[in-house]
């Protein structure tokens, strides 16, 4: 089996690859803990809740874009975006921090040298997974670490294909390939094993365009959102909520939504004054878009937003209120309180 180079993708397929890879990995490896360095795409993290997220190399981005992305904090605001300096600051409850976790760092672009160094000295050393378009990252790592091996992975969706390189200690390579092959079969998908110099695996995934879709494609609780608000999510058990403020504008990095997402509903469970709901403004990737309210009470509603037909993989949802109100007991200046975002087909 020879893996084909990547070709330009059909609409929807780009979003499907991340979901397919996340499911494949999750089915293959127990206690999988992912560090997804594709922010703001969150290509794997969106399908693997609890993953850490970060930017592969913020210093390589244009500075206006980097400055914007650095505003965000993940996990409801509790976790800074991962880089070499903040790796140790990630919440202790994160799966990545748990002993026995199978750590895997994923990137779609070259990773900053300090971050790569920090990961390489970590114990246990994580596996690395690169999308093919990250250039010679996998080859460079293998050259520096001859005790490592690479497993080439390909996911086919209809006529589209995405290639990946899994780099891991050579002693783990055969078992990992075997686990991936078995996982593909357990998922009911066609999987092919091949290669001579390196192991190769190819997974055939039916196109989501042809598959029946449930109305509810994804539910994103407040405690898992990456946003640029100053307040962190609050929680009671598994239930979480988030207040916007002290800026009127809150931006939420939705990243790669499931393919064929058509509309979303943000559940606003409270505003200090009823009129604030009527005057909410919404943007997608910075462009004003209309919204409609599904009123539940004077101070709560579902804010419904239609999504564009061509979903960008780095979707940022912006929401704003006309003014802020200081909370009764405390110093926070509050806009609106939300508990989840639901994405529908």
């Amino acid at each position: 089996m020879n893996l084909a180079p990547e070709a330009p993708l059909q609409a929807g397929a780009a979003l499907q690859f991340g979901v397919a890879m996340a499911r494949w990995l999750d089915a293959a490896f127990d206690a999988l803990a992912v560090l997804d360095l594709s922010f703001p795409r969150n290509s794997l993290a969106n399908a693997l809740p609890g993953s850490l997220v970060g930017i592969a190399d913020a210093e390589a981005l244009p500075r206006a874009e980097a400055a914007f992305l650095r505003r965000f904090r993940a996990a409801g605001g509790w976790a800074p975006l991962c880089d070499a300096a903040t790796l140790a600051e990630q919440p202790s409850a994160a799966r990545w921090q748990q002993p026995g976790a199978r750590r895997l760092a994923y990137a779609e672009a070259p990773v900053a040298a300090p971050m790569l160094d920090a990961l390489l000295v970590a114990a246990p050393r994580p596996w690395f997974l690169w999308r093919d378009n990250a250039g010679g990252e996998a080859a460079g790592l293998l050259a520096k670490h001859p005790d490592h091996a690479s497993v080439a992975l390909q996911i086919d969706v209809g006529t589209d294909a995405a290639r990946y390189h899994l780099v891991l200690p050579a002693s783990d390579a055969a078992a990992a390939a075997e686990a991936l092959e078995a996982a593909g079969r357990r998922l009911g998908l066609a999987v092919a094993l091949g290669g001579t110099a390196e192991l190769q695996l190819r997974l055939d995934v039916p196109s989501a365009a042809a598959a029946p879709r449930p109305p509810l494609l994804a539910k994103l609780p407040a405690g898992l959102l990456a946003h640029d608000g100053a307040y962190r999510s609050e929680a009671d058990g598994d239930y979480s909520w988030l207040w916007s403020g002290p800026e009127r504008h809150l931006r939420i990095a939705l990243g790669s939504l499931p393919p064929f997402s058509r509309w979303l509903k943000l559940a606003v469970i409270g505003v200090p004054r009823p009129e604030m709901l009527d005057r909410m403004a919404v943007s997608l990737n910075g462009d004003q878009v209309p919204c409609r309210l599904e009123r539940w009470s004077d101070t709560s509603a579902g804010v419904v937003v239609d999504l564009p037909a061509e979903l960008p993989p780095d979707l940022i949802l912006g929401l704003s209120v006309p003014y802020l109100v200081k909370e009764d007991q405390g110093e926070r200046r509050l806009g609106f309180c939300m508990d989840k975002i639901e994405v529908f087909s």
Binding site: R63, A64, A66, H249, S283, N285, D287, Q288, L319, S320
Partner: protein, 510 residues
């Protein structure tokens, strides 16, 4: 010139923000959208723009700005323009400066005072050391800082073109920063807003004012610079001479700055014939402007500001009295009455009396004012001037830092080495740091720790006396000179005895 709707990024606050420049921008956008495909980048996602202009999140403007995009920034001296200043650093373009000085804007924008102190030093090098020291070390900052120190150097340097509203503003910039730095500054007057002004009779009916009264009107916030003291003295004298009139101030009092009501109590004749309306909405303000016989708009001292009420009065064909100073001097002599600054009260008395007696003169000046509004200040003319300025600026491109990755930081910041025993020359370190911006290290060398101790005694406080005020001291290490593993010598300086300073030198803000 053939401009086929090039993309234009327009950075400015917009309505509903209560900001005069937001209103200005809305009106201007409505005019120049015929020339450009415009994205208005705002802080407020609910901002309102004319049809056909897309409102976009300014934080995500990088998605739309290219190296070739036309860009126009609207800068004013308040918090609503902090994002515009930051956007200008990322995406240089044409910049309209509405207010002169901008000290307050920079004060709001800068995270600490060191950047301000650096700019103060550039603006007025002889004054800055004293005022800077008072501010940083004694916490003393007076209103004088806002008048003495100009913060527009960075705007001039980072803009591909600059628009100001008066020759006065341009001359002031040129005087401070020189001909070469201001060659790209052009003057576009503040347009007369395209509002339908009612005629005098309709406006008086609507406001319930008598048709036969001679009405003198002022407007806006009541501030010291609007010289109500001069006006009230003059009006009292005119009334005492037997000339009947009414005075209406259509605007809000700012008692903390100027207690208009309390001052009015000192003028008994005027008090009986005056009205202070408090804040009025735009239609009511327009009606008051239309209803008056004379609009008085005084300024002293002036920082070169323009006045929206004055432009409305021109559109309504009203006779205006203005001080003969700053940008008001540039108003056509036949369209307004200029009052000499040296004799403001007698001049006001003479002018008001003459206009009261001569309705034909009043009408003639008002008619000239209307023609001025319909020609030089017309929105169409101003729109064309903006188009020309935008295109001219596009021919002087500057690199847009926001579109490029920042340079990779050095593993170790630069290190200057100076002889610590020569510190009695206080300006020496300041001179050495002139070309430094951002993180930097300075190693003050001494022959021995005893020498270092002696210098500390003789020049106490040693660092306080040698570090310029715009430099922030982040960390201090005493290097003993003995070979110890925890000493952090700069490369090539191992074994040196001295003081290693880690500094942050304020300079270019971005």
């Amino acid at each position: 010139m053939d401009v086929t709707r090039s993309p234009l990024g327009f950075f400015s606050p917009l309505p509903p923000e209560k900001n005069g420049i937001a209103d200005y921008s809305y009106i201007l956008l409505n005019e120049i959208r015929k020339y450009y495909d415009i994205s208005a980048f705002c802080d407020d996602p609910a901002a309102q723009a004319p049809d056909g202009v897309r409102v976009r999140d300014q934080q995500q403007s990088y998605r739309h700005i290219t190296p070739d995009s036309r860009v126009l920034h609207q800068i004013g001296n308040n918090a609503g323009h902090v994002f515009v200043l930051r956007a200008l650093r990322q995406f240089p373009g044409l910049t309209t400066i509405h207010d002169i000085g901008l000290f307050y804007l920079y004060e709001l924008e800068q995270p600490g005072m060191e950047g301000m102190l650096a700019e103060m030093g550039r603006s007025a090098p002889l004054l800055a050391p004293s005022f800077g020291r008072h501010w940083k070390r004694l916490g003393l900052k007076t209103k004088a800082n806002y008048a003495l120190f100009d913060m527009q150097r960075e705007l001039l340097a980072r803009s591909t073109g600059v628009v100001v509203h008066s020759l006065f503003a341009k001359a002031k910039l040129s005087g401070i920063y020189g001909e070469a730095a201001t060659r790209h500054v052009s003057v576009i007057p503040h347009f007369a807003p395209p509002v339908e002004m009612a005629d005098q009779q309709q406006a008086r009916d609507w406001l319930g004012l008598p048709q036969d009264a001679f009405i003198v009107t002022t407007s806006g916030f009541a501030t010291n610079a609007k010289r109500f003291d001069w006006l009230m003295q003059a009006l009292e004298q005119v009334l005492a001479q037997g000339t009947e009139l009414r005075w209406i101030h259509a605007g809000e009092e700012r008692a903390e700055e100027y207690d208009l009501s309390a001052e009015l109590a000192r003028f008994p004749l005027l008090k009986q014939r005056s009205q202070i309306t408090g804040y009025v909405d735009e239609p009511t303000l327009n009606a008051h402007v239309s209803a008056c016989d004379v609009l008085v708009n005084l300024r002293f001292p002036s920082v070169g500001e323009s006045s929206g009420s004055l432009a409305r009065a021109f559109s309504a064909g009203r006779c205006c009295l203005v001080t003969d100073t700053a940008s008001y001097r540039e108003l056509p002599r036949e369209a307004v009455v200029h009052l000499p600054l040296m004799t403001p009260v007698p001049s006001l008395v003479a002018a008001l009396s003459a206009l009261h007696k001569d309705p034909a003169l009043l009408r003639a000046i008002g008619d000239n004012a209307r023609r001025y509004a319909e020609t030089t200040l017309s929105l169409e003319v101003v729109g064309r001037q903006y188009r020309d300025a935008i295109e001219e600026a596009a021919r002087r491109p500057l690199s847009r830092p926001g579109l490029h990755p920042p340079p990779r930081p050095l593993a170790e910041p630069a290190c200057l080495t100076l002889d610590g025993t020569a510190l009695q020359d206080r300006a020496r370190l300041a001179r050495s740091l002139q070309q430094q911006h951002g993180p930097c290290r300075v190693l003050l060398t001494f022959d021995s720790l005893a020498e270092l101790a002696r210098a500390s005694r003789e020049h106490a406080p040693l660092l306080g006396s040698v570090l310029p005020d715009h430099v922030k001291l982040l960390d201090t290490r005493i290097l003993s000179g003995a070979a110890r593993s925890d000493d952090q010598w700069p490369a090539g300086m191992a074994g040196t005895c001295g003081i290693l300073l880690h500094l942050d030198v304020a300079g270019e803000a971005a």
